[in-house]
């Protein structure tokens, strides 16, 4: 299922930044793992918990509590459609529907080939250029319906 097998060396490198046995570093270390792997792999979380002497259940609770963490691998391109008030008024839902039908996934899900992840976010703080779609953090403003297919292929 998982595309990337967790490289223990990479995980070890992250862990070495934190003092062993200090459970207060849990969230920071999880953020680093998320940034490195694009998600929080079970194996990396296990290594982390061993290093910080934190029960694995605590790491799982934290990783599921915060939306910044994902437990499933994300696609190469993470598409975030802003559905904040301004974007909603200017047709964000049409863009979401369009992307759903192009990619054949529901919002919050990743395509089977692990190329795209479709997410909706509540506001990216760029209401002047609504509707906004971000592709791997790169903002596209005033997005017109019907142009999504081209945009996401270009963003690959």
């Amino acid at each position: 299922m998982t595309k990337t097998c967790v490289d223990p060396k990479k995980a070890r490198k992250i862990l070495d930044r934190y003092p062993s046995g200090d459970g207060t570093s849990l969230i920071h270390a999880l953020q680093d793992i998320q940034a490195e792997f694009g998600y929080v792999p079970c194996e990396a979380a296990e290594l982390l918990c061993e290093h910080l002497s934190v029960p694995i259940s605590k790491a799982f609770s934290a990783a599921t509590f915060y939306k910044a963490f994902s437990l499933e691998p994300k696609g190469d391109v993470v598409i975030r459609v802003c559905t904040g008030t301004a974007c909603h008024i200017r047709g964000a839902q049409t863009l979401v529907d369009e992307l759903c039908s192009i990619l054949n996934v529901a919002p919050g899900k990743t395509t089977k080939d692990l190329k795209f992840t479709l997410e909706t976010v509540n506001c990216v703080g760029a209401c002047a250029m609504a509707p906004v779609v971000s592709l791997n953090g790169e903002y596209h403003g005033n997005v017109q319906p019907g142009t999504m297919s081209k945009k996401i292929r270009g963003g690959k």
Partner: protein, 269 residues
Amino acid sequence: MTNNKTINLEIDGRFFQADEGMTILEVARREGIEIPTLCQHDALEPVGACRLCLVEITHPNWKGWKGLVTSCLYPIEEGLQVTTNNPEIHTARKTLLDLLLARCPEATYIQKCAAEYGITATSFKKREEETTCILCGLCVRVCAAKGCNAIGATGRGITKGIAVPFRQPPPDCIGCASCAHICPTDTIKYTDTEDLRKIWGHKFKMVKCVSCGRPVMPEKQLEFEAAKAGLDAKYLTTCPQCSQDQTLATVQSSFQSKTVPGGSLEVAR
């Protein structure tokens, strides 16, 4: 404990003295005053998750201010005046139970509690996904108190739940089933056979009682308990019934071997 300050307080018009640091609920329970709770357990630290233990407090110095607080968490203070039941508290508890019933319409214990407040069916929209878990957190807390931390809360808000890490049989679980026993709504299930206990996707091999052969506890729990208590594992391989019988036999024989003044002493079993 002896140098603790004594606090005077009033509960439902009666005056009581109690040690500083006690909670309203502790004093009320000590005095036989009933306050309903769902997430409270004497062996665990209170968290105030169920809010059912709401009481009204006020104080002569508070210029008429009064408020509803969770009695399981509120530490007593000098001159505090507590009311454990009035129409306002009743309404608050009724709403809480109504909401719990909307979440867990099938939970028999919640049905029973709600019926005591005159609710037979929830007035809210029922939750679509069926559950009997009221998220009191007792299972997670008892597991942590035991020292295992095998299970935890997941998600937040409406998707919050109790789950095992990464949806796999929890590596830290010892199969003690404390979580299942403490659950007020019997949400956590386990099955016991002569040789196996199945819980949280695990299959634990049971240790048999050395004297009667009945299952005592899972092997993993035995190792854990023995290490925790610093005992040899063999001290824990007798079931409670046999261990009681053995103690009784020891006591009896010690009485029989000694001359008891005034004749023989019959020890009733």
